[in-house]
């Protein structure tokens, strides 16, 4: 058994953590989920592409009231990673509108979601402000 598994299968943990999309061979549309066919052109063949790990935060919300069991507050948003839109939380910053703003540069970061009964860690991802670590 590996020591770590990704929270979702489109998060690759090595060599460095990054996201992998299914790109339509015919039209280039990108998807993160298992596909039956392409939503853009109905093509049925795809290849894997690495998504850039740096991007720009194009929108966000700060969720203060969520479903039971979901810790709040947290920042949810969309990051434009070189033309591919990615849904993610903004992490490693205070969840308030003075620290989070649209247009800010962000980069992929990982965190441990939890450890199961066999000692395996699940690793999730988010995006953190570039300023915070440079």
């Amino acid at each position: 058994m590996p020591d770590q598994v990704p929270l979702v299968d489109y998060l690759a943990l090595s060599p460095e953590p990054h996201l992998v999309a299914h790109e339509c061979d015919a039209c280039g549309a990108r998807f993160f989920d298992r596909r039956n066919a392409c939503a853009s052109c109905s093509g049925t063949s795809f290849h894997a592409v690495d998504v850039p790990t740096a991007g720009e935060l194009v929108t966000f919300t700060i969720v203060s009231f969520a479903a039971p069991g979901v810790p709040v507050p947290f920042v949810a948003g969309v990051v434009d990673c070189g033309g591919t839109s990615v849904r993610a939380n903004v992490i490693n910053t205070d969840p308030d509108p003075t620290h989070v703003r649209t247009g800010m540069p962000v980069q992929l970061a990982t965190f441990v979601v939890g450890t199961d009964s066999e000692g395996v860690e699940a690793v999730g991802f988010g995006f953190e402000p570039v300023e915070a670590t440079s």
Binding site: V8, A39, V86, D116, V120, G124
Partner: protein, 400 residues
Amino acid sequence: MSSDDVWILGIRMTKFGKRPDDDVMDIASEAALGALADGGVTMADMGVLAAGNLMSMGAPTGQLLQKQIGQTGIPVYNVSNACATGATALRTVIMAIKAGECDMGLAVGVEKLAGAGLLAGGSRKADSDTWQPKGRYGAVASVDGRIGTEIMPGVFAQIGMEYGHRYGGTSFELFARISEKNHAHSTLNPLAAYTKRLSLDEIMNDVMIAYPNTRPMCSANCDGAAAAVVVSDAKLRTLDPDQRRRAVKVSASVLTSDPWTESCQVLPDVNTLTRRAATQAYEQAGVGPEDLDLVELHDCFATAELVHYDNLMLCPEGGAVDFFESGAPWRDGRLPVNVSGGLQSKGHPIAATGIANIWEVCHHLRGEAGDRQIEGARVGLAHVIGLGSACGVHILEKAA
């Protein structure tokens, strides 16, 4: 007037709010019988029934309603299209009449939603004790709150914030002022769930749900129903002068779904399908946004109202903030928007909403809106969005 026109003959919206002593069929019957009486007709005159009740989880809503108001054996279509369910029921009846299957039909939307709370996201289960990939993303644990948010206030917050990122000019206060407008408008609507005017401070200092949407900036869960009787042009000509005088012409009836756009599976794109529906509706009706006297649009959250000013082309592209700042969408402005109070204040009993907004517009076109009448209203537009997505746009015109 052309022979394939269709008309709203009768229409009714119930009081929206908490109705603990009424069940779903009580509320649906009140709307349906009210619409029939308003049109001067009965169930025996109806050739088709379309009904929607999103929370019934597949129950035969139309047939259950017939058990209460008249089992006439006509075809029934139970429809489900998220928040566009009511508009979809109405459009189903319109299509049946345009197809020549019948000359009159009834559309009903009903919901019991008071106290429902958040309607998406469910609750997060405890993580499994062994990580097992599940579903189309191969997730080993729940992703809501870990990879973005599934709650509607958060989804629509991002839709408004994205507009602000693209065009500038938005702020928490701007979005709160949109809500202030709708809570002011509903003070004149006795059927609204909330009729208390809220100050900007009260709105901004209320409970934050998903920034920048505070609680009063979210649509109000409540009980309610709306129903409409649709009639063909040929049949209308045979009816009494008073029925003809109060009939409202359906100049456009459009339903779209969301076409693929780059980011639409990451954050729902409510813009493209609304813009397409509006474009088709203006073409069908032969009118433009400048001809509208009032608009009821789908302000499920304050952040959503802003983007739909643009999507419905009530302003130049990118000009939604300026449109609001000009005072245009207030009831005394150039193009009143949501004079009913909208979903934030009138309330949002989901399946009823897509007919209730038609009722509001018809009320003004008939000159029967009382204290909140928009004087001289002749043309109005009603818009709904159901996430997933479906968009309904109807343009209505006063009888000539």
